[in-house]
Amino acid sequence: MSLIEQFIQRAKQAPKRVVLPEGDDERMIQAAVRLVAEGIAKPIVLGAEEEVRALAGGASLAGVTIVDPAKDSRIGAYSAAYAKNRGVAEGLAGRMVKRPLYFGGMMVAEGDADAMVAGVAKATAQVISAAALTVGFSEGVSQASSYFVMVLPDGKVLVFADCAVVVDPNARELAEIAVTTARNAKKLLDVEPRVAMLSFSTKGSAQHAHVDKVREATAIAKEMAPEILLDGEFQVDSAIVERVAKKKCPDSTVGGTANVLVFPDLDSGNMGYKLTQYLGNAKAIGPIMQGFAKPVNDLSRGASVDDIIAVTAIASLQCGG
């Protein structure tokens, strides 16, 4: 069974209420129908009911909750909550929350949905903005980031971050990425994360400001989440090859056996995942968005119905529980 199929099977054990704000896209409606039929999630589609029904093309929408933000009685409460959280006038807040991405985000923020999956029609930056302004960030986290699940040809699974969102994180931001990724790896993969903070230096083998940043991030991350098995700084081989780790960092509890690799910036992260994908023949699942107080996941504009279902299953598992 592929990893995606495993995610779907696990999501079925406790189907979550996932809001799909782009109810004017046929793929979203088809995905919602399948999510119900296969018992993966309880989809909430945002849009005008007649338009959603027309896009369903006669397929049964039993089990799909359709919510029209323009007619929904919760809009007043969402406006008031948005205005209070953001410190803006209620008139402005009302104009924000009637937009589907923001209405969906407020459903998640206010506990009327467990997660949101969007992005077939909206740019990633718009999905991130909506999530940041409605759901907000997890405690101790200051920005959105992302991770990839890399499935190697031998079946081994590694998690890479951040390979898609944060261009040049400072030490604090890098620590946040490490901690957030570790927590999501645990929820999604049901494994104990072993986090390696990557560099071109292993435990002081090189001196440079870039190495100092990773060292500082390692210290901050350990302080943020002492329960997570995390260490650094490591070169990639010291992180994942036990033979090398025994020589270069014999005292590290993570060296040689890391399953979560945190890259120091987007240059290295993006190149690292693509090298693994194309030269190492790994399958790359992602980027999976993270950092929000509750899961909001982004889709590529070319997403297929299968992709929407996979991302919905991932969002459901990121809910935990």
């Binding site: 953001r86 009302g94 104009r95 924000m96 923001y102 718009q126 903005s129 302004l133």
Partner: protein, 79 residues
């Protein structure tokens, strides 16, 4: 609505949304570089303008507006 009135109202909205004194806001100011807007606040500015001028604008077009002067032009053309 004349340009002076549009300018006055644009500055009022920018001041409220970005928490910058109205007197410090000039047409040449860019929202992010000069007035400290975070990128996630772009749509709040758009919603603030919509509320002030009581009209709905195309979101993608409005998000291309990057400065106070651009916003003034944008609404002068539409009012």
């Amino acid at each position: 609505m004349d340009r002076a009135e549009v300018e006055k109202r644009v500055k009022k909205v920018v001041s409220q949304v970005l928490n910058v004194p109205e007197a410090d806001i000039r047409p040449e100011h860019k929202f992010t570089a000069d007035l400290g807007a975070e990128s996630v606040q772009s749509l709040e500015l758009v919603a603030g303008f919509e509320e002030e001028f009581d009209l709905e604008v195309d979101e993608d077009e409005a998000l291309s507006v990057q400065s106070v002067g651009d916003a003034i032009e944008f609404f002068v053309e539409r009012l």
